[in-house]
């Protein structure tokens, strides 16, 4: 079944051999997943609205609110039918459109001649917002058109060790970036690896005990990213085993907080 919204649009939704097709041929089946992809592709209510305006070739500075509101509502209904989780912003926009609609229905107060009614236009704020948003979409398209390092090109920078008297700049951002690249590579590697070296639980237990001191250590520090999922599982089992043997203590101050691990000995001493 074709959702009503796709057949009721004025604009053709396809052009076949030069002929615009306004109504879908009967029996055409759009897989629900494809439709879902289309509908979840919107970057929020303003994006959906500007899509509708473009599709209908409306003037953004003179939006026919009644038609737009109706089409918008149809999309929202469709999204809800398909169980797409709707951000609150979408519903807020629906309410706003309804409000503008009702304000436009109110009789206009008698006006002094020749005074333009524009400032009182109930649509003014919405049109302003849409305009600003579309302008930035244009800005984004411009950014996208640039050749961007990493995506479109890779600058050549041969490594030259600096002379000893030169002080290098270092900042946390640089360190974070390096950490990020490392993690990405580790993630890629774990995908590529076909046969992995087994990680022995006894080795892991030894290693974990070496890492632990009297000071609590975050569980994260014990996880070796490059070992991938098997590594995580082995570490987890190793920790459970150590815990069972009462060699370590596990602490968590509140739900979802970091789990802290430490040697059990310090607890006895304390």
């Amino acid at each position: 079944m074709l959702p009503p919204v796709l057949t009721s649009c004025v604009a053709p939704f396809a052009i076949v051999q030069g002929t615009p097709i306004v109504e879908a041929p009967k029996g055409l089946y759009i897989p629900p997943n494809a439709l879902k992809v289309l509908l979840t592709d919107f970057e929020g209510p303003l994006d959906l609205l500007s899509f509708l305006i473009r599709k209908n070739k409306f003037d953004i500075l003179d939006i026919p609110v009644f038609e737009i509101a109706q089409q918008y509502q149809q999309y929202i209904d469709l999204m809800q039918q398909l169980d797409i989780e709707l951000a609150g912003e979408y519903l807020f926009m629906a309410a706003w459109l309804t409000e503008i609609k009702s304000r436009m229905l109110l009789p206009k107060p008698p006006q002094e001649d020749e005074v333009p009614c524009e400032p009182d236009d109930p649509r003014a704020e919405l049109m302003q917002k849409l305009l600003a948003y579309e302008a930035y979409q244009q800005g984004a398209r411009w950014l996208d058109s640039l050749k961007i390092v990493g995506r479109d090109l890779w600058p050549i920078q041969l490594e030259v060790a600096p002379p000893t008297d030169v002080v290098a700049n270092i900042d946390l951002d640089g360190l974070f970036l390096a950490m990020q690249q490392l993690l990405q590579r580790a993630a890629m590697r774990s995908v590529h690896q076909v046969c992995e070296e087994p990680i022995e639980i006894t080795d892991k237990i030894d290693w974990v005990m070496q890492q632990l001191t009297d000071q609590p250590v975050s569980l994260w520090r014990l996880l070796v990213i490059s070992e991938g999922k098997p590594g995580l599982v082995v570490t987890f089992i190793a920790l459970l085993e150590l815990w069972r043997q009462q060699l370590i203590c596990l602490e968590q101050t509140e739900a979802y907080a970091d789990i802290l691990v430490r040697r059990a000995a310090c607890v006895l001493r304390g």
């Binding site: 994006d47 500075l61 411009w142 961007i148 600058p155 030259v160 590697r189």
Partner: protein, 201 residues
């Protein structure tokens, strides 16, 4: 053009300029290279045509290779050309990043309105900016925090970084803002014209 066709000075210039272009960490403009060269005894009299002759020969040498000497707004840079980017990424066990529309929109607003809070970006986009997008922008090293806004809640103010300018091949932050301004104003005036012509007809 071949190395043998260069003058003696140009031949002496060639290794210096090529070493620079291949090891510099940012694009090198002609002016910048000339200034640096002229400050040295041997190359006091070097002029733009000498530099250009050297650049020409270098370009010829790089022909057929996977890299090219590319001029941009910010200057000359040697870069891996797009066709071979995937090969370089395979060496680094990575894949080229994809930039989503949401990310580019957020970046455009941040660049144009900087310093700006996340809430201000959200007000323009009409939807919340996901933590994932913020993380991606930070991971690319394109935005950084620059203090907090002196309003209740003290939200972080975001600005773009020098790395963004380099990655986009732009010479300065002013240039970036100016270009975005142009794009935006162009768009707005287009809409205005369309609107007025609608009114007439």
């Amino acid at each position: 053009m071949r190395f043998e066709g260069l003058t003696t000075t140009q031949q002496a210039l060639y290794p210096v300029v090529t070493a620079w272009l291949l090891s510099a960490q940012q694009p090198l403009s002609e002016t910048y290279m000339l200034r640096l060269l002229n400050s040295h005894q041997d190359f006091k009299k070097v002029k733009a045509p000498d530099l250009n002759a050297v650049l020409d020969v270098f370009q010829t040498c790089l022909a057929h290779s996977g890299v090219a000497l590319v001029p941009s707004d910010a200057g000359y840079r040697v870069e891996v050309v797009k066709d071979y980017l995937d090969w370089v990424y395979s060496l680094f066990e990575q894949s080229p990043p994809k930039l989503s529309r949401a990310l580019l929109e957020t970046l455009a607003i941040m660049a144009h309105r900087q310093p700006v809070t996340r809430a201000e970006v959200e007000a323009i986009r009409g939807v919340s900016v996901s933590t994932q997008i913020m993380n991606q922008l930070k991971q690319h090293g394109w935005v950084k925090s620059a203090g907090v806004k002196q309003v209740p809640g003290h939200p972080t103010l975001w600005v773009t970084t020098d790395k963004l300018l380099q990655d986009l091949g732009l010479s300065s932050k002013e240039r970036l803002i100016e270009q975005l301004d142009q794009q935006i104003n162009h768009f707005l005036s287009d809409k205005q014209t369309q609107h007025s012509s609608n009114l007439i007809h």
